[in-house]
């Protein structure tokens, strides 16, 4: 096997048993790697009856075949399993430095079950793998623990660490790599916490890997790195980060405001956008391993109530989740909130979205000061959010902490009063900071069809609707108008396949926009030694999309769950999308039909599964 190592680390924290073994090569060829391969492992070995926070629950960390390559955008990987936030399939993707280190150490992934008796850390040094005592780190913030790990073992050791939120089982707890790059979504920090696993640390003594066709790969690598670095998108991302065009998003109605109740706030766009971040707080640009784009930010905020020392800066999602979504246009506050979430180990999207829901509930009188331990939740009051609400959530302190630590859907279920109507989610996962009513109606399909719940990175629809995705080789050349349903179901069919490929290959969506379909195929073939053509690659993407649906079916999800909450579908009240209906039902029906998905069960028909070589999987559901 080339590209991949074919080896997986299996850890049972209950008895400390560790062994490395291989996965069948067919798994890699049919489900690619990353979240697709993790889904296959989970489908075959997962315990679907296990509570996601029980020792029996399985936590899977999985690389793609390109981990370790010196290629822009290739240094991501996935963490997957049953999400404690949603109770069904979840996966979370992250860049940084873990994927190549794990690859060089000799592994494609780690499968963790059990629960350690005391706080532990998994230490991987080439073929030496052991759980060590981490009692001294328990209760501490991620920045401090990451620093302590580096001091004890050396800077070259790559870390995954959870914070107090993960220890306290906050349902949207994150896992951070190098205290900067976040596996944010779906709450796997809580799964680590439930296993008494504070950190995973990896060190490889040699930095080499083999590819199937070194000559072809090297040519391709040079071509792609140049193309990626020189693209307009990369230049924009490099100079002003992922929030570079935030004010453009305000004009199109993509940026959510006050819990998705408004789609236009002109001054906010200028206040929060990437160029403002660059001018006011940027000290350095950063990158994931081997990436020439360098969209990461390092910031310092001085002379502000929200001052922070030099360190990781916020992405677009964090800026909006702790900016306009909460009725704030204070960029320093968004920087600070992001830093606090990183240190406590909480997903900034679900944190911001849950607080936004609570602010609206407070405004409506559905929750009161008495319900919130005397805390008032007011739009734009970032001091309370940062200094009171976030720490209380991470500690699950008081009624406020315990209510909001479960996420917006659970909290709305608890207080009732129809407050579920103004949650903004799909399948229990809070929606990210792109409003499908203004950003593009295709995004409504993406949110609803994504196996983990509302997710803008499940497939590249965001880029498809903004005209940044053209693949003429496979007939994918849509000129789409964002705020209509025209051609969206047809575009979504290819988009979900592409999304499954990039998330299984663990490739960054910013970088891979520049990779053509033939180049994708070439990359798989020259690195992993496959003999794929375009059709075979797209079929692999389709299989991954289907398999995650089968997993959710096993968890009891049906077609009715492929839905969005009313707030995300009602006509917008202002801005560019004002009054425009989203034909969600029509788009969903057509997408189902094109994908061969049963309109009641929400899974592909037996015939369709067999057509894609999933006959064995079909036997378990049909």
């Amino acid at each position: 096997m080339k590209g991949n190592t074919g080896k997986i680390i299996n850890v049972n924290l209950s008895d400390g048993a560790v062994h490395a073994d291989g996965l069948p090569e067919a798994y890699y060829r049919t489900y690619i790697g990353g979240s697709g391969l993790a889904a296959k492992v989970f489908w075959e070995r997962g315990n679907f009856q296990a509570d996601p926070l029980s020792p029996e629950a399985m936590l899977i960390i999985m690389n793609g075949p390109f981990a370790g390559l010196k290629l822009s955008g290739a240094s991501r990987n996935s963490i997957a399993g049953c999400s404690p936030l949603t109770g069904h399939w979840g996966d979370s993707s992250c860049g940084g430095f873990l994927a190549p280190e794990l690859r060089y150490a000799g592994y494609d992934g780690i499968i963790i079950t059990g629960k350690a008796e005391k706080p532990s850390m998994l230490l991987i040094e080439d073929d030496q793998i052991r759980a060590v005592d981490a009692t001294a780190y328990w209760g501490k913030g991620i920045e401090e623990v990451n620093r302590a790990i580096k001091e004890k073992y050396g800077r070259a050791y790559r870390s995954l660490v959870i914070g107090p939120a993960g220890e306290n089982l906050v349902r949207y707890a994150a896992i951070l790599n190098e205290a900067h790059h976040a596996f944010g979504r779906a709450g796997f920090g809580a799964v680590m916490g439930s296993k008494n696993l504070k950190a995973i640390v990896v060190r490889a003594s040699r930095k080499k890997m083999e590819v199937a066709d070194p000559v072809r790969y090297e040519d391709l690598r040079k071509e792609l790195n140049l193309k990626i670095k020189e693209s307009v998108t990369s230049d924009v991302l490099h100079v002003n980060g992922t929030a570079a065009n935030l004010e453009g998003g305000v004009y199109s109605g993509d940026v959510p405001i006050r819990n998705f109740t408004s789609n236009f706030w002109e001054e906010m766009g200028d206040a929060l956008t990437g160029s403002t971040l660059t001018e006011q707080y940027l000290t350095k640009r950063g990158a994931c391993a081997f990436c020439g784009i360098a969209c990461k930010r390092v910031v310092e905020v001085e002379n502000s109530p929200f001052a922070i020392p030099k360190g990781p800066g916020p992405e677009y999602e964090t800026i909006v989740a702790f900016g306009s979504l909460l009725g704030s246009m204070d960029l320093a506050a968004a920087c600070k909130a992001g830093r606090v979430c990183n240190d406590l180990g909480m997903d900034t999207i679900s944190s911001g979205a849950t607080i936004a829901w609570a602010m609206e509930a407070f405004e409506k009188g559905d929750i009161t000061r008495d319900d919130m331990d005397g805390v008032e939740l007011r739009w734009g009051d970032m001091e309370t959010v940062i200094h009171t609400v976030l720490p209380m959530i991470a500690r699950r302190e008081g009624r406020l902490g315990s209510l909001l630590a479960a996420g917006s859907v659970s909290a709305a279920g608890e207080i009732d009063k129809h407050s579920i109507d103004y949650t903004c989610h799909s399948k229990g996962l809070e929606a990210p900071m792109h409003d499908p009513r203004g950003g593009g109606h295709g995004m409504a399909l993406t949110y609803a069809m994504s196996a983990r719940g509302a997710c803008h990175t499940a497939d590249p629809m965001l880029f498809v609707e903004m005209g940044a995705c053209y693949y003429p080789e496979i007939g994918f050349e849509y000129e789409l108008e964002p705020m209509t349903d025209e051609h969206k179901p047809e575009a979504a069919v290819t988009s979900v396949e592409l999304g499954a490929i990039e998330n299984s290959a663990c490739y960054c969506q910013f970088a891979d926009r520049e990779i053509s379909i033939p180049e994708w195929v070439d990359l798989f073939n020259s690195v992993a030694g496959y003999d794929w053509d375009m059709e075979e690659m797209m079929r692999a993407g389709r299989r991954v999309f289907y398999l995650k649906r089968l997993i959710n079916f096993a968890y009891g999800l049906r077609a009715r769950d492929d839905d969005l909450t009313p707030r995300l579908l009602e006509p917008a009240r202002d801005g560019e999308p004002e009054g425009i209906e989203v034909n969600f039902v029509g788009m969903k029906e057509k997408f189902y039909r094109l994908m061969g998905i049963d309109a009641e069960l929400g899974i592909p028909t037996k015939e369709r599964l067999e057509e894609f070589g999933m006959g064995e999987e079909a036997k378990r559901v049909w």
Partner: protein, 73 residues
Amino acid sequence: MKITVRPVGVVRRFAEDQTIVVRAGLNSRGLIRKLGIPHELKMISFVNGTRVDLNEELKDGDEVRLVTLLTGG
């Protein structure tokens, strides 16, 4: 005719706020090309605060906001 151009967000990297003299009959698509904004960017245009089709002719005194749909994060 004279029009005022107000690029928004990322578009400001490629064009500045300016009032320029252009030929009669120019539309937003032609203006975008004239300003040298990269063709990779999908653009939308707001004339005097209202979204217009890129092929709609501009008029003397119009204020044109040029927005790209590029987004991220």
